[in-house]
């Protein structure tokens, strides 16, 4: 057979590629990721233990052990990362006690359930310890103290993602109705995602200006002329959140809308014949159908929300004080002042918290919603 013989070199190369397709196809991605994430991660880990100093013709890294972390968690930067703590009152203790009891309950329940695995125990231990620590931090700083960048970031992440999800779901449900101009709404609603985040930040600074912004008159009419959102920690954080919501709701909206439109028609019709109304159809048919998508999109937003920086940086420079400073901005500010070690240390704290929450969510919600799939 001629085709089996006389294979020229090009053929041999092609055949080699075919036989090693597994490696050939995945290697570029793996190498890229190794070079740009695994390798930097290790170098970064080393950086957290050093202090950078500029010297003639370059710079040196001095090994300082855990100094950078100590500073952040116990030392002069504690107020910055963790916040200023309040003295605990009875209410604080009660809240904490309730949270800890709840965590313990879930943990014990998992332990005595059949099918407990080593990985599961380790994973849950970490998740519950982190959740407990964060609860402690929240109670300590939000009661009478002052939250640091970690708590502020958690606020952006959880408040932001919930609000955006609720809005996006509502809009998607509305848009999925049988209405005219559906495509127009869909296209326009998608617009915000195309604007550069820095631009969005400036745009909202323009809009939020109470002197010359478009809402100045409304602001005055509300009797708030002598009040500035930028001077109050919570209003400042909320303005940041509004910008974030404007920017990110579209992404969730577009995916949820597609999911709703994609749900099986026959189930809908069956429910209708069975006499279900709008809300019942949503609760019993639509929601279970889109739950996996919803879980995934929330996970993505969780991951991305931890990286928030442009909005607080531009709107308030992290002010008033450090009230709107996110972890990424915190790390960025540290970098700007040549504190590379401190910057990397903040980054690692961020990585740790983000990984634990995202993984916990993935394991908890991801599995749960998938059960409803056929």
């Amino acid at each position: 057979m001629a085709y089996l013989e006389a294979r020229d070199r090009r053929d041999r190369v092609a055949e080699w590629v075919d036989r090693n397709a597994g490696k050939v196809f995945i290697l570029p991605a793996v190498l890229t990721l190794l070079a740009f994430s695994l390798f930097p991660l290790l170098v970064s880990a080393y950086l957290t233990l050093t202090k950078l100093k500029f010297a003639a013709g370059g710079f040196t890294l001095r090994y300082v052990e855990w100094l950078n972390f100590k500073k952040l968690i116990f030392g002069s930067q504690q107020y910055h990362l963790l916040g200023t703590f309040d003295v605990f009152g009875i209410v604080d203790w009660l809240i904490l006690g309730a949270i800890f009891a709840l965590l313990l309950f879930f943990f014990v329940r998992y332990l005595i359930r059949p099918g407990t695995t080593v990985v599961g125990v380790v994973g849950r231990s970490v998740a519950f310890v982190v959740a407990g620590a964060l609860a402690l931090l929240l109670v300590a700083t939000l009661g009478g103290g002052f939250p640091g960048s970690l708590v502020v970031t958690l606020f952006y992440v959880f408040a932001g993602v919930s609000v955006q999800f609720a809005l996006a779901l509502g809009l998607a449900v509305l848009c999925a109705q049988n209405i005219y101009g559906r495509n127009l709404f869909r296209v326009v609603f998608f617009l915000p995602i195309m604007v550069t985040p820095v631009g969005i930040a400036y745009m909202f600074r323009m809009l939020a200006d109470t002197h010359k912004g478009p809402f100045a008159d409304i602001w005055t009419w509300l009797g708030l002329a002598d009040f500035s959102w930028a001077a109050d920690p919570w209003t400042a954080r909320i303005v940041v959140l509004i910008g974030d919501t404007w920017q990110w709701t579209p992404f969730m909206f577009i995916v949820l809308l597609a999911a709703i439109e994609n749900q099986p028609r026959d189930q809908l019709e069956a429910a209708r014949i069975d006499g279900a109304g709008g809300w019942q159809i949503f609760r019993d048919i639509t929601w279970p159908a889109i739950a996996p998508v919803a879980a995934t999109i929330v996970l993505i937003r969780l991951i991305e929300a931890y990286k928030i920086i442009d909005l607080p940086n531009v709107l308030t420079s992290g002010g008033p004080g450090i009230a709107t400073e996110s972890l990424t901005l915190h790390a960025f500010v540290a970098w700007r002042t040549q504190d590379l070690g401190g910057s990397a240390a903040v980054g690692y704290m961020l990585l740790f918290v983000a990984t634990v929450t995202c993984l916990s969510f993935f394991n908890f919600a991801g599995r749960r919603t998938r059960r409803t799939e056929l």
Partner: protein, 350 residues
Amino acid sequence: MRVRMIDVRKSFGQNEVVKNLSLDIADGEFLVLLGESGCGKTTALRMVAGLETVSGGTIEIGDQDVTNVLPKYRNVAMVFQSYALYPHMTVAKNIGYPLKLRGTPAAELDAAVRAAAEKVHLEDLLHRYPRQLSGGQRQRVALARAMVRTPSAFLMDEPLSNLDAKLRIAMRVELKRLQSELGVTTIYVTHDQVEAMTLAHRVAVMDEGVLQQVAPPKEIYDDPANLFVARFIGAPAMNIVKGTVEDGTFAVPDGAVSLGSIAARGDVYLGFRPEDATLAPADEAMLRARIYSTEMTGNETIVTCEMNGEQVVVRADKDYEGTLDAAVGIDLDPGKARLFDCDNGRRIRR
């Protein structure tokens, strides 16, 4: 071209799906691999195509060992159950794709595509896309794509199963005709015994990864090698009744069949086809049963009887009218009855 599988095995992890399969398919032969889904027949076909690696044994096409040769060098053509038409290419592009990959000059390619399309009556649809075609037309495109070059073998994986009943019969006829015209060795996988019987030069029946019997259709039907083949081939299937053989007689609680000279042995299965039995008054017949249901198919009536908890099917005249639950007798032609070993299911030859 001659295709040989010698002692071929295939496992997925712990699960061995093809066990020591040896088949020798002559040049130009139409061989049908028949079996229930999951019996390993498709895996066997895919190994010939090169889509699965081989866990053990050798595959030869012509006189070449192709066991470890990539599919593209085997020069086989395959028709898939789903037809596997490229949805983003026109019919002409689809048919011409194998030639294009071989660097065939444009003019030659066009001519070949046209010729192949004419063979399956597609010449007017060359510029359409697969989604614009009916199921039967898509099937033809897939065939044309297989025929556009001269392959060493046609491999067909249930190519007709996605067509409706009428079209399937029409295409079966076409296919048989085309194959004999082209004279290309063909391995055809199906679970449909009618297809197997009508198309094949030889049928290979497989079960649980093991080849049960390879023989021409008639032989498979008349002379099944074991209980599995006997049960599998024929619609309605062969009746199997459990009993004992003593003194040349097959005995069940409700009757006996005299078989002539045969050594006495314990439990056996007696198999007989519905057309080899006749209904008779209950008290005169060899076996006694009750009528369970009757189905009139037009040219005959299929009578299902219950005998000692087992169902036995008998073909009767189309005018036969039986009352449900009425007692009835069954006579059969002992010469056409087959005996099977109760332990391993093998034929007991007389």
